[in-house]
Symmetry: D2
Subunit: 315 residues, 4 copies
């Protein structure tokens, strides 16, 4: 059992979530350096069991989650705070973890640990995309690609903010679930390869004010975005090396802002949690595994298509 | 019957709204110059009956409203575009009005003329306050003072944008209506003169992220706003010369941004209408008078407290 | 001699500038529709000789230039104001032109018509890039690619704003002129194909806070930009269809904001002119031709490398 | 000799600066709580002599200054990081101080310790005012009130950023020094009590785009600011309880943004230091005292008018 030093906190981890990032790390395709021998997994939630000297932000018994970038507190991302749990420093697939108090946020009261573990990566990425530079609101249209984890959170957050949401998906069953979650329109990108035209038609020709680009189909996103709109670019992760390059004409004539989004700061995490708590939002969980089944959870995650997050619960 | 020149539009006015501004103009207390002999009233909605040469933005038969600043198209307010309908140029209490096409916006489809006439001044002021510099969203708290016209729209818009809303009011009946409209909490400022403390208690000590200051009680608003929050300052109009001055310590230690809000641009008006249309929002109308009753409408407006707008319908 | 209608202005054109855009229009490679039979050239400056009714913004005898987007007054670019002089409406290679007063700005007092004609396209593009979303200032580094017209203005404006400037160039003579104009460092992109590494070395590893991308080498620009920095993307025009596509990994890991910049609004033009006037800035002119030599001016422009603008003077 | 704990740094303090804040603390008029028995003075610069475990940001031998808010790292000010050196935690009038590494910035290379000690309070306040929300640049006018410490830095920073600067002062000798430092115009507020009119005349009627309000004369500042301009409100400190309250009409009709500015974050401090270093800027020092003369330095500071900072050097 580790002991927390000054400003450190000992956490009993209660749940972890599995993401595409972890799949890449496992398979050796993660495009950033991964230190060997680290505790894996960047997402987790747990209970404070002990605090070191001078800790002010949390107390034993409180329920917390850690920011994936444990040193990124506020403001823009800077190189000096790019440590990441589970790749450059120890992650959270463990019973007890010691973390700096500066890495922690309190988790929303209405969420279980299992649910809270689903927030640090996918939810915060969606939150940063939709609030970081230009926040879409009522009267604006957000285009979301597919129904991956980031997309589902983006749909939930965009609806909270009063925006109209269009989602692309190739599966009618998913389309139905997305509409139940609040999607105002869905577009089948298999049936309609020129789906940017549909988005334009649905927006009176203007295009979407904001595109949450998680599919690696940046060229189509650029054709679907409004002049002076924003494309939040996250999608490279899913498409990987197969993502098609972007020709410069499509980029230029989009007349938009492309913003590369890398999860978020602890301060953004705390702001997101206020929204989640206020609106009693719950993450969509696809399946929950036990702590002993972490490997199976990973295999399940990698084996096919999910709708919502795959979580490992220690309880 | 006037004829529209190039880029001008002839409108058959169908409804007008009466605001505190018009009361001040009538009573000679409006703090800006008023040209004598002008057609009064800055708010109205009507039908395009004819268009001059080169008009591109509207067509006969379309339903439109005019921006109160007919020359303020987009971007920040500048002196060169501060003409105002009904005080420096002709207003809209008339059967037929000729306006520049640049002054016009299309009105939301689901609204009657009577409802649409309620938007140009009060709604656009609330919209500009809540979207112009820092737009509050989910997880943030908006404090709204009282239940005047701007306040009611601010409540509607803040709720659309996912914010939590606290409203001050001194009347339980109004408090109930405000809660029905979505207010998350109401505070009785008569019973609790130190209502800023209540706002702080309701926000975990932080204060409101955004205050829509329409009551001329800026000192209390400054005590209720969060550090680095925003006070949208509109309130001088209601309190008039009796508004209490603000001591510099209260201002400084608020640590906030005070933004003086002057209605909005045509482009903001159009953006607001998209939101109104998307969410099928309707203005709260207190009472509708006939065209012949314009004077009574004004008297009624001035005579007491209302809940919602007083409109003159020409139909 | 045309007569100005209401809100129109008759201008005696005194000078025009020639840009890459005009070369593309002449050679049929301009990637936007060009209406046949129009007066060509989007850049010009001249004297007001007559004004129509209701004109308020200018008076006969005043010296003015027209905005390339004559209907884009303020705020962000929107489709409804994308008319362009010389491609969708008549341009300025003419003795007398009639323009809406809304299209005009006064030119800085210290500039001749010949100099003023050099501002509307290249200077305003540089100005919009450097002031439109994130304006670099003292302590920040701006990277400028090459010594084309936009680059020279970007260098001048970035220095005015107190930024440090690095410019890439492949010619030592040009490098010297750039340093004379204020460039803090120059990098020879022929000798050092991995010039982004040099930029990083010159900025303590951070990269440039702002890149004015005019060379169509977006991939290298993305490697040279700082995390959360901005790339102002203008460069497609020069590289044309040969611009190399951008792979998604380079884009994503730049962690930056890519903003597509399309000249600017009239209001930005006016703001730029205030800066130009205050600092007595002069555009770099490469060569001035007479009105009768417009064709030669074009040929000269297209024939080789210049340093500064090619202008046609009617005087 | 204290020992630094984990993430702490032992600093040999080499110089301190004295500000109005310290005068208020000494005289018991500081409007925020002051813990008794603390080491006084919030401004200082020194040398790192030892570092605790896990310290990454600095090394022994490096020259550093501490942020006045030692826990405010980046992003907006929040209550949880409002500790202040010298009032709620130990300050720097001491030979050796232990500080968190998070509180420190490296000082610009060309500055002596004596000069560097002049930056943390006055310079960072001016920097935050001029870069925090709306940064004035070329073509814009900054109005600066008087020639106190914040004003002198504001003048230097505004000139670096290419803005035009107008300064009010009541003393011709000071006016001359201000013009030598780059002020484009000075206005004698004694001879011309209606100096806002002069500012308007000097700006073509528009008013100043940015006012650095350090004099407690907010009403006049509001009359001098441009529509949609910014007043950075700092001035309460100098005028103290005598600052005249602001009437609501003057505030509203200014049509501006009033921003209350409270020094700045460590990240802003680092950004400022980059600018100071790049431009080899030096603070204006009025007089330098020895460490043993700290009390005399305070008396001198309080006794009269200075031009520049009063510093205590330990060397």
């Amino acid at each position: 059992m580790p002991r927390p030093g000054p400003r450190q906190v000992l956490i009993r981890v209660r749940a972890n979530a599995i993401s595409h990032r972890e799949g890449m790390i496992l398979s050796g395709t993660y495009p950033l350096p991964v230190k060997p021998g680290l505790v894996p997994l960047c997402e987790g939630a747990g209970e404070v069991v002990a605090v070191g000297e001078e800790v002010r932000r949390v107390r034993p018994g409180e329920r917390v989650a850690a920011n994936v970038f444990p040193r990124w507190i506020d403001g823009p991302l800077r190189w000096e705070v790019t440590d990441q749990l589970g790749s450059s420093v120890d992650g959270l697939l463990t019973e007890y973890a010691v973390l700096d108090e500066d890495a922690l946020v309190h988790i929303p009261e209405h969420l279980s640990y299992t649910e809270a573990a689903a927030l640090p990566l996918a939810a915060l990425t969606a939150w940063n995309a939709l609030t970081g530079v230009r926040a879409p609101g009522p009267g604006e249209t957000v285009l979301i690609l597919g129904s991956g984890s980031v997309s589902l959170f983006a749909l939930q957050f965009a609806k909270l903010a009063g925006a109209r949401v269009i989602v692309t998906t190739s599966c009618e069953e998913r389309a139905e679930r997305l509409r139940e979650m609040g999607a105002d329109a869905t577009v089948d990108y298999h049936k309609v390869p020129d789906w940017p035209d549909v988005v334009r038609a649905l927006t009176g020709g203007r295009g979407a004010d904001h595109v949450v680009e998680v599919a690696g189909d940046l060229r189509r996103s650029l054709r679907a975005v409004a002049l002076e709109g924003q494309v939040s670019y996250i999608g490279f992760w899913l498409a990987g090396p197969d993502a098609r390059p972007v020709d410069c004409a499509t980029l230029f004539f989009s007349g938009c802002l492309v913003r590369c989004v890398a999860i978020g700061s602890r301060s953004q995490f705390a702001a997101m949690n206020l929204a989640v708590e206020e609106h009693l939002l719950r993450p969509v969980l696809d399946r929950v595994f036990g702590f002993e089944e972490a490997r199976e959870a990973c295999d399940y995650f990698l084996s096919g298509r999910r709708f919502g997050r795959v979580v490992v619960s220690h309880e």
